[in-house]
């Protein structure tokens, strides 16, 4: 493959991976916000989250492979996982490597989810909150297409959708916390003993 084709492939797969990762984040946040409805059941949201993340991994793989194979600039295999060791654009490639490392940890622990302590799995999964913004920074820091209007719009849409999902989740969590506090007060149960994340939204909170 010519260097130019590889270069286009790297950029295209990178942007696609970014979109897919954004979707993965939105679905993941939605799952934890317990926004299930009859037509949009929770298990389906979770399943979609997993499958989109696998697709993201595929495109990420293409992105990494093509960038290493492209001999026009030297990136080198080690720089794929060791941050800030690339010959070309050490800093921004390194940023991408950091995002990738976090993603690999999330990915591997999710494959091994049944064999880990739930607490450990969750702790690693939270690296996703690190990985996504760092990936976004890498995309714009590399600068190749960052100046293009449509790419900027894409970036803003990514930020907006994750931001909206986070806002919704915070609001839902607040609503649950208020309900729990209310329950604790009226029932004379110490709130700290209501240690669960609470019932799904479809549970009745009357009486």
């Amino acid at each position: 493959m010519s260097s130019t084709s590889l270069w286009y492939a790297t950029r295209a797969s990178g942007l696609t991976a970014l979109i897919l990762l954004t979707l993965t984040m939105v679905m993941g946040i939605g799952t934890s916000a317990r926004l299930s409805t009859r037509n949009w059941p929770g298990f389906a949201q979770q399943e979609l989250h997993r499958r989109i993340s696998m697709l993201a991994v595929v495109f990420l793989g293409i992105h990494v492979l093509t960038s290493v194979l492209d001999t026009y600039v030297h990136i080198g295999l080690a720089a794929v996982v060791v941050p800030f060791t690339s010959g070309y654009d050490r800093f921004w490639v390194g940023v991408g490597t950091v995002a990738l490392d976090a993603m690999i940890a999330v990915w591997i622990t999710s494959l091994l989810r049944g064999r880990m302590r739930p607490g450990a799995w969750r702790a690693v999964h939270w690296l996703a909150y690190l990985s996504w913004p760092v990936a976004l920074a890498h995309a714009f820091g590399m600068g190749t297409d960052a100046g293009e209007g449509w790419v900027l719009v894409l970036g803003m849409l990514c930020v907006a959708s994750v931001g909206a999902a986070l806002a919704w989740r915070t609001w839902a969590a607040r609503r649950q916390a208020v309900a729990r506090a209310g329950l604790a007060a009226t029932r004379g149960v110490p709130e700290k003993h209501l240690s669960l994340t609470g019932p799904t939204n479809r549970g009745s909170r009357r009486a």
Partner: protein, 69 residues
């Protein structure tokens, strides 16, 4: 004889089990699963396995129980 077992400590009321297996799992008013412990009919076993895999807290498992336990 395959039966569904819910670990109430692990369960966090996600409700995926009831979505995937409404014939055998219903939810109480707070969103927690109610299973009756009866053996599963053969045609529900696959759905039950899916439900067990889907649970984010691994709270639902399938047990082989001999009658009389």
């Amino acid at each position: 004889m395959i039966r569904i077992l819910v670990d109430p400590v692990a369960c966090d009321a996600y409700g995926y089990c009831a979505e995937l297996l409404p014939e055998a799992v219903s939810l109480d008013e707070w969103g927690y699963p109610i299973v009756d412990g009866a053996p599963l009919p053969a045609e529900l076993v696959d759905a039950a396995r899916r439900a067990a895999r889907a649970c984010p807290r691994r709270a639902i498992t399938l047990r082989k129980r001999n009658p009389g336990h």
